[in-house]
Amino acid sequence: MTPIETVALTKYYGSLCAVDHLDLSIGNEIFALLGPNGSGKTTTVLMLTTLLRPTEGSARICGHDVERDAGEVRRLISYVPQDMAVDIKLTGRENVALFAKLYGIPRRDETIDRVLEMMDLSERADDLVRTYSGGMRRRLELAQALVHEPKVLFLDEPTIGLDVAARKKIWEHIRTLKSRGMTIFVTTHYMDEADHFCDRVAILDHGRVAAVDTPARLKGRLGKDLISARVSGGWSGDLPAGIERLGEKENGEYLFSSDHASEKVPVLFRWLEEHGAVIHSLSVREPTLDDVFLALVGSRDDVTGFDDHRFRTMLRRR
């Protein structure tokens, strides 16, 4: 049975369409929902975890409808929101024990020891969580989420605010869980992490899926190589044949795609010079998921004005 399946899943907040007819089918894999802030990632997760009613469409977890069969869905899933909600005045063990009790786990102590061990927290289990690092707190949340051996695990921005080493460790744990047969649904806006650790990614843009595929195939859509240019000065005009402009990144890097990137470098060099650009560097590199994102969605920066009301609606939703 398909672990996660959505059909035309849609959510409106008033007239704002946060999620727009989402069709996804997710198997035993690590599946990432990628998108800028406000693209509908969290809203999607809230609907899949029965916390928010879809306006239209439906979603099933292991065959159970998230609206009609919410109780069964809650037994099958675990949800770790992005807020890092662990009780700092309780010990790690007490935090996990709370969830073990609420899930009604038989042989509770064994289970608690096992999940703490799995997340490498055994040694610090009886310390107050106040003394834990960010990475440890996140692992503690994973331990809480694992007490009832869920079939599907939802992680909202699992590595947000963590340092590089802690991130890597979290992802290693997530990979282990997947190899044990768990389906893992993550949202993230860290492209490189999705690229390295996820089996498939969906790129979300204003509530709509712009693309779903493996990271490798998504990058393959941009061709084998890209030309990256650092230039200044005004330049404009039609590019030479066979070269397409992909966009400009936040760091001032211009990207061009071409079927024969290395051969086109001299062509592009001459053209840029002739059209008034000062060239600082020009190189050929492999595309990243970030480039795919740029090509599909455009700038990652939110170009629309800051809408205070909408921002608060989004905060309240959490």
């Binding site: 807020d83 005045k89 969830f99």
Partner: protein, 241 residues
């Protein structure tokens, strides 16, 4: 039931380990009793401490219950509520856990006041009156904590909750029979005070001091509590974010 106790245990551990909040919870009611009970110039009674103690007891439950709503605000803002709502255990157990904790904490504070009142010369209550006093306070606590926790479910942040708390607690207290008997109230206040649920609890406890059972007042309080808890449970069952 087990779920309720698990939620209760969590809030209790967090409260007990935050030492300042425990000390504050015990000092504040004592301060009320001493400064209001001993300092107000009154002419309608020679033994104001006996008169004011039921008022301060109920005031303490009122304050504790309304303040207790902020526990849910915290759970909501910090993301705990999302995690709890996604659990298979029944959602109303979250509400019952809060009611149980907030009411228990209120009763602990009430005990401090009772002990202090006796030290300050209040007349002792007979054991059965004492038991019923605790019963009345508990029902009142359940009523108010259920109300405040459910309101918190719909408010977005601390500022909104603090505003709600101030707006509700002050008028409720000052339009009750806590500070003076109906006979000395202005004529516009007396009927208002009589229908105020805070007065139900206060009057019921005052009757106990005379050795009487005010069934009407206790019954009204119970009925109100059943209605409010019923509504609250419905709201918790259907809440989405």
């Amino acid at each position: 039931m087990k779920d309720i106790l698990s939620y209760f245990e969590r809030d209790m551990l967090r409260w007990v380990r935050g030492r300042v909040s425990v000390i504050s919870a015990l000092v504040v009611p004592a301060a009320w009793l001493i400064f209001v009970g001993l300092a107000l110039p009154t002419t309608f009674t020679d033994h104001y401490i006996d008169f004011i103690t039921p008022g301060i007891l109920v005031l303490t439950m009122l304050g504790a219950s309304l303040q207790g709503g902020s526990l849910l605000i915290f759970d909501k803002i910090l993301g705990f509520l999302n995690k709890f709502l996604a659990l298979p255990s029944s959602r109303e157990s979250i509400l019952y856990g809060k009611i149980l904790f907030i009411t228990t904490r209120g009763l602990i504070q009430a005990t401090v006041i009772l002990l202090l009142a006796f030290v300050l010369g209040a007349t002792f209550l007979s054991p059965w009156s004492l038991v019923i006093t605790y019963g009345v306070l508990a029902v009142f606590g359940v009523l108010l904590s259920s109300f405040s926790t459910t309101v918190a479910l719909y408010l977005s942040d601390h500022d909104a909750y603090a505003a709600f708390n101030a707006m509700v607690s002050m008028p409720l207290f000052f339009t009750s029979s806590a500070l003076m008997p109906y006979s000395v109230m202005p004529t516009w206040l007396a009927p208002l005070a009589y229908w105020n649920p805070v007065s139900y609890a206060i009057d019921a406890i005052r009757a106990l001091q005379e050795g009487a059972l005010a069934w009407g007042r206790i019954g009204a309080l119970l009925l109100l509590a059943v209605i409010v808890v019923g509504i609250s449970v419905r709201q918790f069952r259907k809440v989405t974010l």
